[in-house]
């Protein structure tokens, strides 16, 4: 008869335990550092103004608000239930129903119509209840709606930003891609010096060369026009595009193109059927950088536009306090982040699409 050997639990080595703990602490810290600000931005964009300026700031937005109403000195005394203090706090004492609804909408994000509030007043007047308790559902997207209502430039600015980003991709990929191909395929005097020098343009901070740029663009008649910004952004992203595409074109063996030509393709067909699909990951990466650069750029846009701002400028102005509150600015910021996210996720598929034998 055999007896089952008792399972011996392996002792975990202390050094391993410590190193693992440190590793996970590091990972968690890193994720918190990245996720927390993003979470904060998202949460803030859904908070009502009263919540946003409250202390302490709520972690998550509420979905509805509890009100109580009783008679006050000047009319009706409106109180709001505070989730943190766990009590009703008086916010308003007025007899004007319109003032009440405006307050409910703007400060607490709960749209309430005048007939609805009058119904509650009637309940109070009839003496059936005192105080009257009622709740109103919060319109979670109110900040976004308000942002576009208050910043009159927002929608045209958004379209303008799309236009500028799209054109920047087009210009920098056309010029940068062709230049990158030339750098990869042809040997000419001064090639390395030239390739390095295209990076010089990226060394100057936008603010530093803002004044000459304004003057030059004004002379060209492009000041405060999308095309002006496209030019400014393209200069920077062409340099990056050249470096990205040159390295990927260098990774494509010339014999693949030669084979295509021998087997009946014109130069253009060769490019379309062989070079382009093989270079797609690099072109996609370059397009992504061009898009993100043009879409997120704020400093030059502030300087180079006046009446036709781009979307980041509008968000920046919202943040300045000229138009609205932090929660509105957060909503604007998120609106700005979403296209970047979507574009990056779409393009990611192509960047990952590395063919066998071809590496960046």
């Amino acid at each position: 008869m055999t007896t089952k050997p008792a399972k011996i639990k392996k002792p975990i080595k202390l050094s391993r335990l410590i190193s693992k703990t440190i590793f996970y602490m590091f990972i968690v810290t890193l994720s918190v550092a990245i996720i927390l600000p993003a979470f904060f931005l998202v949460s803030l964009s859904f908070l009502s103004t009263r919540e946003a300026y409250n202390y302490p700031l709520p972690l998550l937005p509420t979905l509805k608000t509890e009100y109580s109403m009783t008679f006050g000195d000047r009319g009706y005394l409106i109180s709001v239930y505070d989730n943190f203090e766990e009590e009703y706090q008086t916010v308003l004492d007025t007899s004007e129903t319109e003032k009440i609804t405006v307050y409910m909408r703007n400060q607490l994000g709960t749209p309430y119509t005048i007939p609805e509030i009058e119904e509650q007043i009637a309940k109070l007047e009839s003496g059936a209840e005192d105080p009257v308790y009622f709740s109103a559902r919060k319109n979670i997207f109110l900040n976004y709606i308000s942002f576009f209502q208050i910043s009159r430039d927002a929608v045209p600015a958004l379209l303008r930003s799309f236009q500028i980003a799209g054109l920047t991709i087009l210009v920098s990929l056309t010029i940068g891609g062709m230049a990158g191909y030339a750098f990869a395929r042809y040997i000419f005097p001064g090639r390395d010096a030239l390739k390095f020098s295209v990076l010089f343009v990226r060394m100057f901070p936008g603010v530093a060369i803002a004044l000459p740029m304004v003057i030059i663009l004004a002379n060209m008649g492009f000041y405060d026009k999308p095309i002006g910004l496209v030019l400014v952004y393209s200069v920077g992203s062409i340099a990056l595009t050249i470096w990205i595409t040159a390295s990927i074109f260098m990774g494509i063996p010339e014999s693949l193109e030669e084979a295509a030509q021998v087997f009946g393709a014109t130069k253009f067909q060769t490019f379309l059927r062989v070079t382009f699909p093989l270079a797609l990951p690099g072109l996609a990466a370059a397009a992504m950088y061009a898009f993100l650069g043009a879409w997120n750029e704020t400093v030059s846009a502030i300087i180079l536009t006046q009446f036709n701002p781009t979307f980041p400028v509008v968000v920046y102005q919202a943040l300045l306090g000229a138009v609205g509150n932090v929660n509105l600015a957060a909503a604007g910021g998120l609106v700005m982040a979403i296209p970047s996210l979507i574009f990056t996720f779409i393009i990611r598929r192509y960047i990952q699409q590395m063919w066998g034998g071809v590496t960046i």
Partner: protein
């Protein structure tokens, strides 16, 4: 299928580099022609000019009756197998083979038929759905071969197609390529730096050096009747042995003499020297034509440096001053290193070279 003619073709890179000098060549229909030479001799450049991948500096190229000198590659109706295969990594094997046919707008069912035919000729019919990255080097080479067959070209160009394969596969692919050539009956120009590849495959070999054609001939020609010292040295493993000898006319006939060697020439060999008025020449002899003989008959005696058994035979290396002479001897008896060997030459196979022009005297 068609002939290929290159007339006075020259290729110059930049201002100074002459890659191909006054190249003249005619390739016959269905011929398997090998361009052979050390690296940098211009053989690949010559082939790329036929393909249209390099511009011709001067001269003309004809395929059949068409002059193609100025035509772009796609209009020449040639197909090419590249050294690194050059199969397109983003296309399946099927699409690789069908590429040229699709560009020509061949009907779909016909493409399908041709692709399957040429794939089965190269034995890759079960790989048609794969991407090249899923294939081994040898399989990729087969894809390149069937892609080249599929277009039914006038000329096949092969640019060192076997040099990226491992040694064993190289030898078996050699046989297969030759078989495919015979089956397809295609005029083929094959570039290689491997002389044994050239010897085993070629109908004719063109030996090039520094952009110039040194000798054109059948494998037998270039091996047994090498036109220059370079050819004699380049072809054959081990290569030809060379002796720097002086000619001494004595009462019993003509002798070739150097400090180690005293060889009395047979009358029929001696007559080659009649028109030769220098007192020195370079004697070339293939290792298998050096015979191990008795001491009495020896033209040369020396001690064996090392003997390399090869199974069917052994290669005996002998050091004479700075030169190492190699002779091929039967496998038995085994010759020990350090033992004395006595050698004689098969005189009929000897080559005499002019030391200045390096050209052969006895043709």
């Amino acid at each position: 299928m068609a002939t290929l003619k290159m007339q006075n073709v020259t290729k110059q890179f930049g201002r100074t580099v002459l890659a191909v000098k006054d190249f003249n060549l005619e390739v016959e229909e269905k011929e398997f022609l090998v361009l052979l030479g050390p690296s940098g001799c211009g053989k690949t450049t010559a082939m790329r000019m036929v393909a249209g991948l390099e511009e011709v500096t001067t001269g003309n190229i004809f395929i059949g009756n068409r002059e193609v000198t100025e035509l772009p590659p796609r209009k020449r109706n040639v197909s090419m197998i590249f050294q690194n295969y050059a199969v397109w990594p983003h296309m399946t094997v099927y699409d690789n083979i069908a590429f040229a046919l699709k560009l020509k707008h061949t009907p779909k069912d016909e493409i399908d038929k041709i692709v399957k035919e040429s794939a089965s000729l190269a034995k890759i019919e079960m790989l048609l759905d794969r991407l090249p990255s899923q294939l081994s080097g040898g399989q990729q080479q087969r894809v390149a071969v069937s892609r080249a067959i599929a277009v039914d070209p006038d000329i096949f160009l092969m640019d060192e197609p076997l040099s990226n394969l491992d040694a064993k596969l190289r030898v078996s692919m050699r046989t297969e390529l030759k078989a495919i050539h015979d089956k397809a009956g295609a005029t083929t120009v094959f570039v290689t730096h491997d002389q044994s590849e050239a010897m085993s495959m070629a109908d004719r070999i063109v030996i090039m050096k520094d952009g110039e054609v040194i000798q054109v001939g059948s494998p037998d020609d270039v091996y047994h009747r090498s036109r220059t010292i370079f050819v004699a040295d380049f072809i054959g493993t081990p290569p030809t042995n060379f002796f720097d000898v002086s000619i001494q006319k004595e009462s019993d006939g003509t002798h070739l003499v150097n400090p180690h060697l005293n060889l009395k020439l047979e009358p029929e060999m001696a007559k080659y020297l009649n028109g030769y008025n220098k007192d020195h020449l370079i004697l070339g002899i293939r290792p298998e034509n050096i015979l191990l003989v008795d001491e009495a008959k020896a033209a040369l005696s020396a001690s064996c440096l090392v003997s390399e058994p090869q199974g069917s035979h052994q290669v005996v290396a002998i050091q004479l001053d700075d030169n190492i002479i190699k002779a091929v001897a039967p496998a038995a008896p085994k010759i020990a290193a350090g033992s004395n060997v006595y050698l004689d030459f098969k005189q009929a196979t000897m080559r005499f070279f002019d030391p200045d022009s390096t050209l052969a005297i006895n043709d």
